[in-house]
């Protein structure tokens, strides 16, 4: 069985005045039909990793990889036109902030229909029906009204549900969620995540969940990659996160308050320059080896 996605030796470089800056440095991982979390602090390269998979690194950024394979096909060998067929249709991405990620002058319904009709050659009426059904699937109460509304008339939580509807409507195999809830209120976060989780499970998709929130990731993912300064420093099962070995992961965990074990003063996150070059404590990823859903590490 081949994996849904194999990423081998991915590096992303941005030229700067002081020479090239490597935002992502030589990382490898695989994704099965599972929910994979990528956790790290700002600037650790997690969002860039997500965009690399869709080949959306804009110049002057440079993407280098041995392989970024979707079900065995290397995406790097595809033409831009073939790649457009992968985007949305096979791999989709939910963006961070719905207030800036939806086109402000286009009706919500039109934006979702556009995503659908691009890949399924459907008539306008079919697309409309499908869109309304999809809006209902993300628990929007009055789909007809929302269909004809503009993004600024929506709250953040609704905006993100619309985003989920728009990205899932072409029925992709992989969904990348790039900090889907960090722009939302805590109260809305959970309901949006539950909607997303339910739909992803129903459709048996692979999910890459990018976040800086360890709690959220450990709840909604099967496996977690910890990134630090452009590298994967540790890979572990989400339910075994408390057994993590890397000092950075431990530091992240210790800086979270815990209800059962209250402490007077939370630890300050320590960083060590040596980690930048050290290999992952979970050992090298066996590239090409199939990951079994939720159990492999």
């Amino acid at each position: 069985m081949t994996n849904l996605l194999d990423v081998e030796n991915l590096t992303v470089e941005f030229p700067t005045r002081t020479g090239p800056f490597e935002a992502v440095r030589d990382i490898s991982f695989s994704l099965g039909r599972e929910r994979l979390g990528i956790v790290g602090e700002s600037g650790s390269g997690k969002s860039i990793t997500g965009r690399s998979i869709l080949r959306l690194i804009r110049p002057p950024g440079i993407l280098k990889a041995n392989r970024i394979a979707l079900e065995g096909t290397d995406l790097q060998t595809l033409s831009e036109k073939q790649m457009r067929d992968v985007r949305g249709h096979k791999i989709s991405m939910i963006m961070q902030d719905p207030t800036v990620s939806l086109n402000p002058v286009m009706k919500i319904g039109d934006q979702i229909c556009e995503a659908y009709r691009l890949h399924a050659k459907a008539s306008k009426a079919e697309a409309r029906a499908k869109t309304l059904a999809m809006l209902e699937a993300v628990l929007i109460r009055d789909p007809e009204r929302v269909f004809n509304a503009y993004p600024h008339e929506m709250s953040g939580g609704m905006g993100q549900r619309i985003m989920i509807a728009m990205m899932l409507i072409p029925d992709p195999q992989i969904l990348i969620a790039d900090e889907p809830t960090s722009a939302l209120d805590v109260t809305v976060q959970k309901e949006v995540l539950e909607i997303m989780d339910k739909l992803v499970r129903e459709r048996g998709m692979g999910l890459i969940f990018i976040s800086h929130d360890l709690n959220v990731v450990s709840t909604f993912c099967d496996r977690v990659l910890i990134m630090y300064s452009g590298r994967i420093v540790e890979t572990c099962r989400a339910d075994a996160l408390h057994e993590a070995k890397h000092p950075y992961t431990r530091g992240l965990l210790n800086s979270l308050p815990q209800l059962e074990h209250p402490v007077d003063r939370l630890q300050v996150l320590q960083r060590d320059d040596a980690w930048r070059e050290a290999a992952s404590v979970s050992g090298a990823v066996k590239v090409g080896a199939a990951v079994k859903s939720g159990k492999a590490v």
């Binding site: 965009r51 869709l54 959306l56 457009r84 067929d85 992968v86 985007r87 949305g88 249709h89 989709s92 991405m93 963006m95 961070q96 902030d97 800036v100 990620s101 939806l102 086109n103 402000p104 002058v105 286009m106 556009e114 995503a115 691009l118 890949h119 628990l139 929007i140 109460r141 009055d142 009204r145 004809n148 509304a149 503009y150 600024h152 008339e153 929506m154 709250s155 939580g157 609704m158 985003m163 728009m166 990205m167 072409p170 109260t187 809305v188 309901e191 539950e194």
Partner: protein
Amino acid sequence: MALSDDTADGERQRKLPFSAFLKGAWQVLWTVLITMIGLLAVTFIIGRVMPIDPVLSVVGESASQATYDAAYKELGLDKPLITQFLLFLGNVLQGNFGESLLTARPVSQDLIRVFPATLELATVGIIIGIVLGVPLGVVAAVKQNSWIDHIARVIALIGYSMPVFWIGLIGLLVLYGQLGWVSGPGRLDIFYVDIVPTVTGMILVDSLLARDMDVFWNAVSHIILPAGLLAYYSLAYISRMTRSFMLEQLEQEYITTARVKGLSERAVIWRHAFGNVKVPLITVIALSYAGLLEGSVLTETIFSWPGIGSYITTGLLSADMNAVLGGTVVVGLVFVCLNIFSDLLYKFFDPRAK
């Protein structure tokens, strides 16, 4: 699961009742009224502080004191300033700007004659400017720092920095004098003048209405050079603004969303980015157009174009204050109208402004 935020926006979505529309219309009208009174006050004051003796320019320098005093009274200059202003206001509202010294005809009639000439020239100019300037700006933004961006920059730079009279004269010399591709100064060749009946005062429109294609093509050959010249200057401005608006929009997250969906670059640029550029571009185009409608004095002079710019300037040079004030009021009115029009378009294109 709490879905309370679903209903919160419900009220806003409903169709506006008629009373709200009336309220909006009244607001617009009120703004226009205030602006116009302000404009008329300023125009009136300019007319009074100009170091020109209006009486002297009516009666001439060799008139006797008695004639002078009689004219002084007749012009109402013995009344208090506020009364004079109210009289002026009343006259203007009736479309009465007095008589022009130069043409010895009512200024309002002169304006009806000269304004369509400017309107025609400016409209053809702005249309060419938009048709060429907007795509040029979009392409320059999309292919930022490529050769096409550099060419667009040079074109705009020349447009900004070359004096209009120079390009105008060179254009006449080459295209009319040497190559004979276009007709020379004026709106029509002499044997086409007054053939078609005047309806709008714009010869291009009038000749089409009269279905006289000979006159139409002659008018085209006359207008193409001065309109092209005006178009070039508005193109320089419009293309630069389009470029910077586009660059700003192309950085936005919703553009990435559009790409994630798998849209082609063309759809990303024209449907998504340009959809958002349209809105601020309306203001830029309206301002450009208003600028052209003021009447470009130099262009009108070089091409002997009997428009409002040369009318006001000639009036000014011969102390014909009625002509100057009348022309100024018309130009001001045009500005106000264009502003309102662009506001309306703004609301049409930007759902957030509703």
